[in-house]
């Protein structure tokens, strides 16, 4: 009965009007966030059940000893991701402007940047960036190099997303902006960009979530972020699952709030009926 209330189904309808019931179930008047909680709980329970099917004993105590490593790794991942996130949005915007430039040399520069970055694996870019490029310019701080490579990588994808969004704003809007006497820069800042941001928000949020997960590759240049630390704990304790379950949870703790923020922003930027 308690549950039926929640689902918006009253006892009366369950009994008497089976047609009405099926209709009610399609358009249940429960809130979206409550639905999210239900499904998330079911999935969690299924995962826990699956974990208990794994043969052998669980050994959490070994991993618990190294909890400090998870915390420091998580904080490192958080810091690197935040820095790369801000930087990659800036790179994406600038490269998108390059791609839209009227000067063919500027356009070509943007295009080649995007194709080079998108056409090669992040792993290769990290190794080349750290051992070749950073060495050549005398940059030794691996955190700075890692963040820069990650931002440059994500920025190339962002650039294409922004370019699509900017192209989607009709020419009549720019006409209108020129007609009231705005400069090209004002027209971009006040008219085109705010409309484009709303269009690209979902895609940008997806790209940022990817960026957070891609930061796990920074382990190859020996940055002690979450993944590298979890691997270390695994090699100390020989408890593979016990090391990797917290790893997955650690990433979700970063990506889920980001997705939620993106959805909230999307709703507040909405200006059409």
């Amino acid at each position: 009965m308690f549950f039926a209330r929640f689902l918006g189904v009253t006892a009366g309808t369950t009994h008497l009007h089976s047609c009405k019931l099926s209709k009610t179930l399609y358009a249940m008047n429960m809130s979206r966030s409550f639905a999210h909680i239900i499904v998330a709980t079911v999935v969690t329970i299924l995962l826990i059940v699956a974990c208990f099917q794994v043969p052998g004993d669980w050994n959490w105590s070994g991993v618990w000893e190294y909890r400090q490593k998870f915390i420091s790794g998580w904080l490192m991942t958080l810091g690197l991701s935040l820095a790369a996130l801000v930087l990659s949005v800036a790179i994406g915007l600038i490269v998108a402007l390059f791609l839209a430039a009227r000067n063919p040399l500027v356009e070509a520069t943007g295009r080649i940047y995007v194709e080079l970055i998108r056409g090669t694996p992040l792993l290769v870019q990290l190794l080349l960036g750290f051992y070749v490029v950073a060495n050549a310019v005398g940059l030794e701080n691996r955190f700075v190099v890692g963040t820069l490579v990650l931002a440059a990588f994500s920025g190339a994808y962002m650039a294409e997303i922004f370019r699509g969004g900017l192209n989607a704003i009709p020419k009549t809007q720019r006409d209108s902006a020129r007609a009231i006497g705005l400069t090209r820069w004002q027209s971009f800042r006040l008219v085109v960009l705010p409309q484009a941001v709303r269009l690209v928000l979902p895609a940008i949020a997806g790209q940022l979530v990817s960026l957070i997960k891609d930061s796990s590759l920074l382990s190859v240049i020996a940055i002690s972020e979450l993944t590298l630390n979890a691997q270390e704990v695994n090699s100390f304790t020989y408890s593979t699952l016990e090391s990797y379950v917290p790893l997955a949870i650690g990433y979700l703790m970063l990506t889920l709030p980001l997705s939620a923020t993106a959805r909230w922003l999307e709703a507040s930027f909405r200006y059409e009926r």
Binding site: T172, D175, S176, R178, A179, I180, Q195, Y271, E272, R273
Partner: protein, 242 residues
């Protein structure tokens, strides 16, 4: 205003939209451009409004020649107002924000000054209760009246209106035409492109018939409508005024 156009030509690729168009008006407050679709009316209006530069030819308003470079055209555009067929309000801003944007960002008013300047016109044109809505929440007629207000609010030297009622149903057309007529009474000069012939006739000091990239007929409204010398013009009026 006194408008003089000399040998104005506009080509897009291989199509010649304006073909050595010349026109010289007397001192008029309302000039109306009529003619068939694709005849070059809107292209001409965009050049007059400083949005496009012609392939060749000159445009002179009173004693000022339009210079075909972006910097001086931008200054020119700040001194005039333009209204488009599809209103072109900024959809992410409320009606009121649409109105104050040019005042704040182009004409250097403070936000408070701009807000107080738009109050009275919003009330006069019965748009006050809609001022906080965004364009998607307003009717076509309300949007177009906001668009006309946005062009007027900066006190332009003259107004250019490109088929301002072509996207509207008859009722909304009437409310927009009433507004344009009240502009004329308040002494604003304008150049209007329209297919609303009866309105053109009522409001125009002079009418120019633009077809095949030229001014095929030009003069006081009654003269052009009633005794068109050019057979092309005569056929057009026979069909649209039937």
């Amino acid at each position: 205003m006194r408008l003089t156009i000399k040998d104005l030509t506009q080509t897009f690729g291989t199509t010649r939209v304006l073909d050595k168009l010349s026109l010289e008006t007397g001192s008029v407050h309302a000039l109306v451009l009529v003619g068939p679709s694709g005849g070059g009316k809107s292209t001409l209006l965009r050049i007059l409004a400083g949005l496009d530069t012609p392939t060749c030819g000159t445009v002179t308003f009173d004693d000022t020649v339009l210079q075909p470079n972006e910097a001086s055209l931008r200054l020119y555009r700040r001194s005039v107002g333009t209204v488009f067929q599809s209103y072109n309000l900024f959809p992410h801003l409320s009606a009121r924000e649409n109105l104050i944007l040019p005042l704040v960002h182009v004409h250097g008013l403070s936000r408070e000054e701009a807000l107080s300047r738009v109050e009275e016109p919003l009330k006069r044109f019965h748009l006050y209760e809609h001022a906080s809505k965004r364009p998607a929440e307003l009717s076509g007629g309300q949007n177009q009246r906001i668009a006309i207000l946005r062009a007027m609010i900066v006190k332009p030297k003259r107004l250019f209106l490109d088929e301002p009622t072509s996207a509207l149903d008859p009722e909304m057309t009437a409310e927009v035409l009433d507004m344009i007529e009240s502009l004329k009474e308040s002494g604003t000069d304008f150049v209007l492109v329209t297919h609303a012939m009866n309105f053109a006739r009522r409001v125009a000091d002079e009418i120019a018939f633009i077809g095949d990239g030229r001014a095929l007929a030009h003069g006081p409204a009654n003269l052009v409508f009633e005794n068109p010398e050019n057979p092309r013009v005569a056929t057009f009026f026979e069909q649209v005024l039937r």
